[in-house]
């Protein structure tokens, strides 16, 4: 998939607002594979909604979302599962990790679908992100910042053409934020993927191709 196109998309709850001032809502925009986008927004402007629309979790919007010209509203659940396995990867704002599994198990449950990397690479990421000693710790025994790093590793453990990160560094310090940036840019480059990051202010230092205000 090379393009995600949004045609006049707006969440239904904003539909009655006539004075929506946004680079995304009610606009025609194209997100290209291989480019990097930052979507900046204040809280409550529909950032996570946008991620959910593109990822096929919600459809409470007006307008059209097209993947390479195909209207996603017609996709079946199995088609979405295929897309989530090998076309679009996401780091959820609320992470959605499994509390009773360990950090490594949380990564493996995703990784086993494709076995894209060897274990060395994955352990290397744990190491770089400073959580190598937490690999066998249950997720619900880890801090939110640590969980955020595990969720990032999980999101990199699949083939993707677009990577969506919904507020990925909200609980990270600058050092860890930079490490995360290096890892994900490396993987995005390697896979030739598009990158979509949302932020409510604090964002990674990346050369974005486009910054959109929601």
């Amino acid at each position: 998939m090379s393009t995600i196109r949004l045609n006049n998309v707006i969440p239904e709850i904003f539909a009655h607002n006539t004075d929506v001032n946004s680079d995304v809502w009610r606009k025609e925009i194209s997100l290209e594979q291989g480019k990097k986008y930052l979507i900046e927004a204040a809280s409550g402007t529909g950032k996570s909604s946008l991620c959910s629309y593109i990822y096929g979790l919600r459809s409470d919007y007006q307008g059209q979302i097209l993947f390479d010209g195909q209207d996603v509203s017609k996709f079946s659940i199995n088609k979405w599962c295929d897309i989530r396995q090998s076309t679009i990867s996401i780091l959820f704002q609320d992470l959605r990790l499994f509390g009773e599994l360990t950090a490594m198990e949380n990564v493996q449950i995703k990784h086993r679908l494709h076995k894209l990397h060897n274990n060395k690479v994955i352990k290397g990421w744990f190491d770089q992100l400073g959580i190598a000693d937490k690999m066998d710790t249950r997720i619900d025994h880890m801090s939110y910042g640590q969980q955020q790093r595990v969720a990032l590793i999980r999101s990199l453990c699949q083939p993707f053409e677009f990577l969506i990160l919904d507020e990925p560094i909200s609980h990270l310090d600058d050092y860890n934020s930079d490490v995360m940036r290096d890892i994900l840019l490396c993987e995005v480059e390697r896979q030739g993927a598009g990158l979509i990051i949302t932020s409510i202010g604090k964002h990674m230092n990346i050369e974005y191709d486009k910054i959109l205000s929601l």
Partner: protein
């Protein structure tokens, strides 16, 4: 699958599944028990060699005066065939020529005029390999009523010292010298008794033989039908009795209540199977509820799995496996229990019936497998429905 299993096995309630298991096991044993008892008892109550009752009625018209006609017309036969109580109808075809038979018993010669009749093979309650006619061999198999032999053994034999009593198998070894027809056309034949009937009060020969010999020996007359055999669902059906009465037909043979035993068996085993079904339906409701509850407790995990790319069918697999294992083991254990219970009663039954009980547990096993498949399909259906519902959630 190991990780999925680890994730989803939490909340599986051993108690709920045990309740389902026990309830369904009871239900299954009762249902299959009903079927087993039915299939063990049915050959004794109904069928070709039943101990009690059967579903055949032989009818004729009463002889009212000398030379009165007692034949059935083609219209009367057609009308009988079209009656709702008639399942099948067979005609008695008489031999239209004289039959003279002789037999040697212990050196004594018995000779008598006799008669032959034939009915379609399906209506005959005796199974014999020898029941076929080959004109080139000049031999014909014969079936006689069992009470003819009794008449000889307890009548003739009792009144004469020279006549020994004979058994059925001895009777089968004796050869009859038959002279068919009279005058120039007569043919010599050998006859042999191949079986004894309780159902039909006549001397039977194969239909093919009658057709062939009538063509050859009868004096231009077509065979007239004066007796009919009907297969009916219930010989004591008032509609049937009224019909016979209105048309002046007389049923012969066994009394009409002969079918009651079969009816009672059907009702009895029907009640057992019904009770079993109620148990099974209740247990199915328990299982459905526990599966729903289990899925509901794991709803967040299931949703997240689908959101990270797992297909609903994959996510449903652990639950499907539980359903298959539970239902399959219930089926196997039920059959095992029944096979042991059957051992306990089968000997008594055989003793009471005075013969081996035919058949085994094939029907019961087939029913068990069918029920198991139905249960599994239903379980898989509700699991799939629930998981699909979850996959549509935000």
């Amino acid at each position: 699958m190991r990780l999925i299993w680890k994730l989803l096995r939490k909340h599986i309630s051993i108690f709920e599944l045990s309740v389902f298991f026990v309830a369904n096991l009871i239900g299954m044993v009762v249902i299959l028990g009903g079927i087993q008892i039915y299939s063990d008892l049915k050959p004794l109550v109904a069928g070709d060699n039943a101990l009690v009752g059967n579903d055949y009625v032989v009818i004729s018209k009463p002889v009212k005066r000398l030379n009165s006609k007692t034949v059935f017309s083609a219209e009367e036969i057609e009308e009988l065939k079209s009656q709702p109580f008639t399942l099948r109808l067979g005609e008695f075809t008489p031999a239209m020529y004289k039959v003279y038979g002789g037999i040697d018993i212990a050196g004594q010669r018995f000779s008598t005029y006799m008669f032959f009749e034939a009915i379609p093979n399906d209506f005959i309650d005796v199974k014999s390999k020898e029941w076929k006619f080959d004109k080139s061999k000049h031999r014909v198999p014969i079936i006689i009523p069992r009470n003819y032999l009794n008449l000889y053994n307890f009548g003739f034999s009792q009144t004469s010292d020279q006549l020994p009593q004979i058994t059925e198998s001895m009777m089968k070894d004796l050869e009859l010298d038959l002279t068919l027809g009279g005058g120039d056309k007569s043919i010599k034949f050998k006859g042999r008794v191949v079986g004894f009937t309780d159902r039909l009060n006549t001397i039977l020969v194969p239909q093919k033989f009658i057709d062939w010999s009538n063509k050859r020996l009868a004096k231009d007359e077509t065979a007239e039908i004066s007796r009919l055999i009907l297969e009916v669902e219930n010989p004591s059906d008032p509609k049937l009795l009224d019909y016979f009465h209105d048309h002046g037909y007389v049923p012969e043979g066994k009394p009409a209540e002969s079918n009651k035993a079969l009816f009672l068996l059907k009702v009895g085993s029907g009640v057992i199977v019904g009770v079993g079904l109620i148990f099974s339906i209740l247990s199915l409701i328990i299982l459905t509820l526990s599966i729903y509850l289990l899925l509901q407790k794991n709803i967040d995990k299931l949703r997240t799995l689908i959101q990270i790319g797992y297909r609903p069918t994959v996510v449903a697999t652990p639950y499907n496996i539980i359903a298959v294992i539970l239902n399959a083991s219930i089926m196997v254990i039920s059959i095992w229990i029944l096979s042991h219970v059957r051992v306990l009663y089968i000997d008594y039954l055989a003793e009471a019936a005075g013969r081996e009980i035919e058949g085994g547990m094939t029907l019961t096993i087939a029913a068990g497998v069918a029920l198991m498949i139905a249960m599994i399909m239903f379980n898989i259906y509700i699991i799939r429905r629930k998981v699909t519902q979850i996959s549509r959630m935000k």
